[in-house]
């Protein structure tokens, strides 16, 4: 099986210490977490993690089961890049004088969809939201003009065919939830696991 980028989406209770519980599932197996974001979700009181790793599907599947096994985890999903809409936010700090001098810069920034966050006499901060390749490209573009600082956020991702978590949560609260809620949905999808 080929390694590729997977985005893991985890719905959890909001509890101190859970971040560590999830993080050590990766570190124990010496798997590098490329990006990790925690945020509120569409459901009040439910937290959402986005974790990006490069691994084979088999490994990702096992990791998701280990994550789901944690008491405070409601559900873990994994998706390839085709199955999600995702963005990262990047900030670039550039000397204002340089940009003012070079007309070209303004055009470049427009081309990359950057917008200005702050303009000061000494520096200007631009922001770009997009995929990693896009934000990376702008670093190289701005380097000749004296890029002072660069920072990029973790990935945030939306699963294309997800119906959100409201309905699911209702079922979780129920003592006799439906099968889909309880079960590992990958096993349902994956014919090779159940090969009769």
């Amino acid at each position: 099986m080929q390694k590729q980028e997977y985005t893991i989406t985890v719905y959890t209770e909001n509890q101190i210490g859970l971040l560590n519980r999830i993080a050590i599932i990766f570190s124990r197996r010496k798997i590098n977490v490329e990006s990790l974001n925690t945020s509120p979700s569409e459901v009040d009181s439910v937290h959402r993690f986005n974790i990006v790793i490069t691994e084979t599907e088999e490994v990702v599947k096992k990791l998701c089961r280990q994550i789901e096994k944690q008491v405070e985890v409601l559900k873990a999903y994994y998706n390839t890049n085709d199955e999600i809409v995702w963005q990262e936010l990047a900030l670039y700090k550039v000397p204002t004088a340089k940009i003012a001098e070079e007309v070209k810069v303004e055009r470049l920034l427009r081309e990359h969809g950057a917008h200005t966050v702050v303009i000061r006499k000494d520096y200007t901060v631009f922001a770009v939201a997009g995929h990693r390749e896009e934000t990376d490209k702008l670093i190289r573009v701005l380097e000749p003009y004296g890029l002072i600082e660069f920072v990029r956020s973790a990935r945030v991702a939306i699963i294309k065919d997800s119906e959100g978590f409201h309905k699911k949560l209702k079922e979780f609260e129920n003592r006799e939830p439906s099968r889909q809620v309880i079960e590992n949905e990958y096993l349902d999808k994956n014919r090779e696991v159940f090969s009769m």
Partner: protein
């Protein structure tokens, strides 16, 4: 005014009680049916110990000599009784001393609840005296842990702790309570046990269609083979399991943790799996056509090399933990769910059958093992005592009714190979973690967990020296534990590996021992040491007949090896019977 009167006055007519956090902890214990607690006091848990003073009529506190002893005792208690084992320890070193036991309980799915004291909440993170980040230290080795800084959380957190520890696949839970929360007075209603946590599914829904598929596979099989683990015991599904194998007529082998779930002399029981298991079940794992794994997790000591493990077989895996399915061995049909529920469903669909030719093959291998290994181990032709003959005599004298607690190493493998069991929850050992020093404290716990049974702790000379301070606990509280030390004057299992795989370079395995009988005597425990065959049976009988704890040391062969053996890195079918074949 007396404190009791103040408390009375504080109780309103609303049904609310005004109690301290410490009392809330103990009320939770009482409500959960806890009667025995193993623990050790210290600064940060003093309010709880102060409250405990008033609960001594309801809770029996056993003061151990080291916190590791407390948790192993609680594990032994849980394994012998099927109930949750409970531990108190203080902050800092008290809590860190629990870590080995937590890891052990985690890997062997033992339900325990640890309550640790913690420094005042306002001191957290200041490197206060005896402050340790216990929650983060224990996260990888607990099923769940939680830090309480406000007493009002205690009733619901304790209820969750017990529920999580014992439900689904059991495991250890640690609750860390800051000193201010222990002291804090708060109003509370009556204790409510926890029955549901929305993010937690103790056991998955049983899917009938997979059971149908599993039954189809079994009914079409020519050489089906059942392997089972502790899941059968933890699920209280021994009867359901026996009904299943008896109807389906399938030979069944146990892992070390599954041992005693069925009587060892059951006609379909074909022995123990794994590195030092029996010949037949290991070899025939690679010849069966359908492998039915029940409540076991395909540990590497059971499977040997995975790419040479049961490649020919269709695998049916029954487990309560979905994360175990496909973790190590690819499953053809996953049957996830509580085996107490799934086994009867499966039994109803399988045809009544017998496989005399297939069962005979196990017997043939058994015969070979008998000739090459077992005969000499149980009836040695020279004067040197073997561990096997000691275990054999123990079987004879206890009738297979004792709880046998073992430590880790050669004696453990020999005891598990040769011990006879008539009833479940009788084999208590550190299977997954392999914790030396486990047996003595675990046996103390087992004696409290099953007070009407005989508990025998079989321990090596190395392991005994790791936790022998617990003799002090025995001295003080007088549980009835039969301590049987099999002394070969070596760290035997490591020595065996050094002999077989490291050109006999015996590097630091020649451990010296004190006079164990004298040591026991110092703790007021009678005992004797035997080194001759003629004295052995009488000595074991004396030990068993003695009212109370007794220590018997048996001097056994220095360089005896445990065989058969699946050498590390080889497949189960490559199991060897003697040194020459390694």
């Amino acid at each position: 005014m007396q404190i009791a009167e103040i408390k009375k006055e504080q109780q309103g007519s609303t049904g609310l009680k005004n109690i301290s956090g410490s009392q809330a902890v103990l009320d939770a214990f009482v409500a959960e049916g806890v009667k025995t607690v193993f623990g050790y006091p210290g600064g940060a848990i003093m309010p709880i110990y102060d409250a405990l003073y008033d609960y001594h009529d309801r809770i029996n506190h056993i003061l151990v000599r080291h916190e590791q002893g407390a948790i192993h005792a609680a594990q032994g208690f849980a394994r012998a009784s099927g109930q949750v084992g409970v531990i108190f320890a203080t902050s800092g070193p008290g809590a860190t001393n629990l870590v080995t036991g937590l890891a052990d309980a985690m890997i062997d799915s033992t339900p325990v609840v640890c309550v640790t004291g913690q420094v005042f909440a306002h001191l957290l993170g200041t490197d206060a005296f005896q402050e340790t980040d216990v929650i983060n230290i224990t996260t990888p080795v607990t099923k769940w842990n939680y830090q309480v800084t406000d007493a009002s959380e205690i009733p619901s957190v304790m209820a969750k702790a017990f529920y999580i520890a014992k439900s689904g696949r059991p495991g250890p839970v640690l609750i860390d309570i800051t000193k201010n929360a222990q002291l804090q007075l708060f109003e509370t209603e009556e204790y409510q046990p926890c029955e549901h946590i929305r993010s937690y599914r103790p056991s998955p829904i049983v899917r009938k269609e997979y059971i149908v598929e599993a039954a189809k596979l079994i009914n079409a099989a020519e050489r089906p083979f059942v392997i089972f683990g502790q899941g059968v015991i933890l699920g209280n599904a021994e009867k359901e399991f026996i009904r299943f194998i008896e109807k389906a007529g399938i030979p069944a082998a146990w892992t070390i943790m599954g041992m005693s779930a069925i009587p060892t002399d059951h006609p379909l029981g074909v022995g123990m799996l794994g590195m030092h298991g029996n010949y037949g079940p290991n070899v025939l794992t690679n010849e069966c056509d359908v492998l039915i794994a029940v409540g076991m997790r395909f540990d590497d000591r059971v499977t040997g090399r995975l790419d040479k493990y049961a490649r020919q077989a269709k695998v049916i895996h029954l487990d309560i933990d979905p994360a175990e399915i496909d973790k190590n061995v690819k499953t053809t049909v996953p049957v996830w769910g509580d085996c107490k529920e799934t086994l009867p469903l499966l039994t109803s669909l399988v045809e009544k059958k017998l496989y005399p030719g297939w069962l005979q093959r196990f017997k043939d291998y058994q015969q070979k093992e008998e000739e090459k290994v077992i005969r000499e181990e149980l009836n040695p032709t020279n004067e040197i005592l073997t561990m096997g003959e000691v275990v054999q005599l123990l079987n004879e004298l206890t009738g297979g009714n004792a709880i046998i607690v073992t430590d880790v190493g050669q004696h453990q493998m020999v005891a598990c190979r040769y011990a006879k069991f008539n009833q479940s929850k009788s084999n208590i050992t550190s299977g997954g973690l392999g914790t030396m020093g486990y047996a003595l404290p675990a046996a103390i716990g087992a004696a409290y967990g099953a007070p009407h049974r005989t508990t025998v702790a079989i321990i090596g000379d190395g392991g005994f020296q790791m936790t022998l301070q617990e003799l002090g606990t025995i001295m003080q509280f007088r549980p009835n534990v039969k301590i049987l030390i099999l002394n070969n004057n070596f760290l035997g299992m490591v020595r065996q590996w050094q002999q077989l795989f490291h050109e006999k370079r015996y590097s630091f395995v020649d451990i010296q021992s004190p006079d164990f009988v004298q040591v026991a005597k110092g703790f007021g425990i009678p005992g004797q040491s035997v080194c001759e065959r003629k004295d052995l049976k009488g000595a074991i009988k004396t030990m068993l007949d003695h009212q109370g704890t007794y220590l018997l040391e048996v001097m056994v062969g220095k360089e005896n090896n445990v065989f058969p053996m699946v050498p590390q890195g080889r497949g189960v079918a490559e199991i060897v019977l003697c040194r020459e074949d390694v």
